[in-house]
């Protein structure tokens, strides 16, 4: 029995060593985990880009920081996730309060708004927060005890579903596999996939069918809007808030116009009430290359980030 237990202990220790080495790789390369993990390992910041995947892919903090001359201490990071997890609601609110540097004052907060992030699939539009997808599924956003620890073991334990991702990356790297999704330290999600027009058109077709179907079923959620205002109130105490509506493909812009006709008006009213600038690119939809129906291609992201920075500079220099 003694030698049995000895061997078993040795085995468990060796296995533990292997696992620690694996986590060490992830410590140096958090981007190899998945498309979200890196965001929970970077230090807290005083300025944030918020929203869903449109913002995650479309807004480059690097470009904005350079234009606005923000340094290591005041730099903006992208803390937008995707439609499901970072839809505006109680979880995202918690996440934002957790990622923000304590006691910071002169931050910039860019909230990318889309009609989809205010919707719910449930009937009860007034108090439905417990039925929100991201709440029910206990998604990572707003559900971790820390959003700025490297390695973030809690995330790795609870949410790292494809733990072979490091090997997968190594394999793709070796065979020189095109099509890379890469999350940068500043939070920008770089999407470098096949931009051949027939492939893109196919993607647009499938996505449009899905979005049209979804649009028929979802409703405006007053709870989400309540949390939107709560987030604004929280952020305004710590800096300036801007709304931005990202450009999308022509098809998507039309779809949103058809199914959510009052959305722009609603955003304008909210912006005015809180004395916020609403920078709206929706009318430029179709002008920039998208990878599918609503995500900007990486070179389009650069252009939009520059344009947005120009607007920010203009507004900041012309403060009333």
């Amino acid at each position: 029995m003694k030698s049995f237990l000895g061997k078993l202990t040795a085995y468990i220790l060796l296995l533990g060593t292997l696992l620690s080495m694996y986590i060490l790789i992830v410590y140096f390369r958090p981007d190899l985990v998945d498309l979200f993990y890196y965001r929970f390992t970077t230090p807290k910041a005083s300025s944030l880009i918020l929203g869903s995947s449109r913002a995650a892919q479309g807004l480059k903090p690097g470009t904005i920081n350079k234009k606005l001359g923000r340094d290591e201490n005041t730099k903006i990071i992208n803390h937008a996730f995707a439609g499901g997890p970072s839809t505006i609601g109680p979880n995202y609110y918690r996440e934002i309060t957790q990622k923000l540097k304590q006691g910071s004052k002169d931050g910039i907060f860019i909230i990318s708004v889309t009609p989809w992030t205010f919707t719910t699939g449930t009937d009860n539009i007034d108090d439905d927060s417990l039925q929100f997808f991201e709440v029910k599924r206990k998604l990572y956003v707003g559900n971790l005890s820390s959003s700025s620890t490297n390695p973030n073991l809690e995330y790795l334990w609870k949410y790292w579903h494809n733990k072979f991702s490091v090997f997968e990356y190594a394999f793709k790297y070796m065979i020189n596999y095109g099509g890379i999704l890469r999350l940068h330290a500043d939070g920008w999600l770089e999407v470098d996939i096949d931009m051949d027009s027939t492939v893109v058109n196919q993607r647009i077709k499938t996505a449009m069918a899905e979005f049209t179907e979804t649009a028929k079923h979802v409703k405006w959620s007053n709870t989400r809007y309540f949390f939107f205002e709560k987030i604004i109130g929280y952020l305004q105490k710590r800096g300036e808030v801007y709304f931005v509506r990202m450009p999308v493909s022509k098809d998507m812009a039309e779809l949103e116009h058809t199914y959510f006709p009052g959305f722009d008006e609603q955003m304008k009213i909210t912006a005015d009430r809180y004395n916020i600038h609403y920078i709206n690119f929706i009318h430029e939809s179709g002008k920039y290359k998208t990878t599918d129906v609503h995500h900007l291609w990486r070179e389009s992201s650069e252009i939009i980030s520059n344009k947005l920075s120009d607007s920010l500079l203009y507004y900041r220099n012309n403060q009333p």
Binding site: S3, F4, L14, L15, K158, H161, F164
Partner: protein
């Protein structure tokens, strides 16, 4: 609690330590612990039907003693029939009530009168098919004078509820199992280490392969209307392999676990896909069930029908396989699964002899071309039956199969979702082929230490990475 859950890997070491360090004074104390631990294990999964397991243990314990104690042969026979009827009635009530009721309603509706489908939706007690068949065999063995009834209620209860096998088998024979559990077990290091290695191999098949294949196969089946024929064909093959990895992996974990407690369970899978004919296959696939069916159903049936010679054999085979199918679940799809397997036997019976597998004990490096073609052909025939595990009704299976043989069969299949898993499957079968004479592939003999430990570490690491806290329900649990 399932074997691939996180809780199990807390439960198992605790029971192990208690078993060998605290309750190790006598066979009796060991069995007390095993019963307690098994009750805990069963209740963790589903406490509502614990009473059913207890009833099974008590009833069959006393029934066994009564059958053996009866003076007249006729009384023995009556008691046996009463025992069989009682066990089957419970199984029938919980597992098949809805099926019969709904089928009856369908028939009434077919003939014009209207009745409502059953509103009583009974939950399936965990493991009921496994422990019911186990104790049925026990009673029949006593009647046939193959064994003496157990006079040790504690040991007998441990036999019924023993946690490594309560949920999904193997369906143990009293003859092999009772002698082991009735005496005090002493720790055997080689056996325990072998158990751990077997568990490791089972975890690999279950967690790394089966659980990763499941979403792929499920995706193809739930989207079968719009997939190409070639992808559907791939789905057919992968679905069969998935069921094998899932159940064989689970069985290896069960058998390995049991070795840690000094008890051998029977082999449940013996490289079934290297079989060259259907009879060979059923000698090596879910052995604890197929050998049960052979001894307690097919043999009596063919005895009764022996005057009809080959016709009697065919009839016996067909009945046996309908029962095998029905054992899997209360659905017509399983019955079709059984009938097809039965039909596959007919050429063998007509030919007059069942060809013994030429591969069984051979140590050849490669199979011959003929054997290889036979293995492949048999595999495809079997996939056509295992598809019935995956569909909701018979029509769905036929639609699926008809879509396989469409012009898009010649389109290149969608391999993107299986890039990583196909090499893993190939490696698995190559290893299985090379170690087919062993109990399990990790039973090394004579290899250098770095090779042995290297294998354990790599497999353990891969299992750790593949481990999901929220695993798919084991496909055989519902049977």
């Amino acid at each position: 609690m399932t074997f691939n859950s996180f809780e199990y890997f807390i439960f198992l070491p605790v029971v192990f330590v208690l078993y060998w360090f605290v309750f190790n004074k006598s066979g009796k104390s060991q069995n007390i612990l095993l019963v307690l631990a098994s009750v805990f294990f069963y209740c963790w999964a589903d406490w509502r039907f614990l009473a059913l397991v207890i009833v099974n243990a008590l009833f069959n314990y006393y029934m066994g003693i009564s059958i053996a104690g009866a003076k007249k042969e006729k009384t023995q026979k009556h008691l046996l029939w009463a025992g069989v009827a009682f066990n089957i009635a419970i199984l029938g009530y919980f597992k098949y009530f809805n099926f019969f009721y709904d089928s009856f309603v369908d028939m009434l509706n077919f003939f014009g009168s209207h009745a409502n489908p059953s509103s009583l939706k009974l939950l399936l007690p965990l493991g009921i098919s496994f422990f019911t068949f186990q104790t049925l065999g026990y009673l029949i063995d006593i009647y046939n004078y193959n064994i003496k009834p157990s006079r040790n209620l504690l040991a007998f209860s441990a036999y019924v509820i023993y946690f490594p096998k309560i949920i999904a088998g193997p369906i143990e024979r009293a003859q092999k199992f009772l002698p082991q559990i009735e005496r005090k077990r002493t720790f055997d290091q080689n056996m325990a280490i072998d158990g751990l290695r077997q568990m490791l191999w089972g975890l690999f098949a279950k967690i790394v392969l089966a659980d990763n294949l499941f979403p792929v196969v499920h995706g193809i089946f739930s989207n079968s209307g719009s997939e190409t024929g070639s992808t559907l064909f791939m789905g057919l093959i992968l679905s069969t392999i998935q069921v094998y990895f899932d159940f064989a992996g689970y069985s290896n974990i069960a058998i390995g676990t049991s070795k840690l407690f000094g008890m051998r369970l029977m082999k449940n899978f013996d490289t079934p896909f290297f079989s060259t004919n259907i009879s060979d296959f059923w000698n090596r696939w879910h052995i604890s069930l197929s050998s049960w069916m052979l001894d307690y159903l097919f043999t009596p049936l063919s005895f009764v029908l022996r005057k009809r010679k080959k016709k009697g054999l065919i009839l016996s085979i067909m009945i046996t396989f309908v029962v095998v199918g029905f054992w899997h679940g209360a659905n017509w799809t399983f019955i079709v699964f059984g009938i097809l397997n039965g039909i596959y036997y007919i050429p063998l019976i007509l030919k007059g002899k069942v060809i013994k597998s030429s591969l069984g004990g051979s140590t050849k490096i490669f199979p011959s071309a003929t054997e290889f073609v036979q293995m492949l052909g048999l595999f495809l025939l079997l996939s056509v039956t295992i598809i019935f595990f995956w569909v909701n009704n018979i029509a769905e299976a036929f639609t699926y199969l008809s879509h396989v043989f469409s012009p898009s069969f010649f389109v290149f299949p969608d391999l993107k979702r299986v890039v990583y898993i196909i090499p893993a499957i190939i490696i698995f079968f190559v290893i299985e082929w090379m170690t087919r004479d062993k109990d399990h592939p990790l039973q090394f003999s004579g290899q250098p230490v770095y090779l042995r430990w290297g294998s354990y570490l790599i497999i353990g690491f891969v299992v750790l990475l593949a481990f999901e806290k929220d695993p798919n329900a084991f496909i055989y649990l519902q049977f």
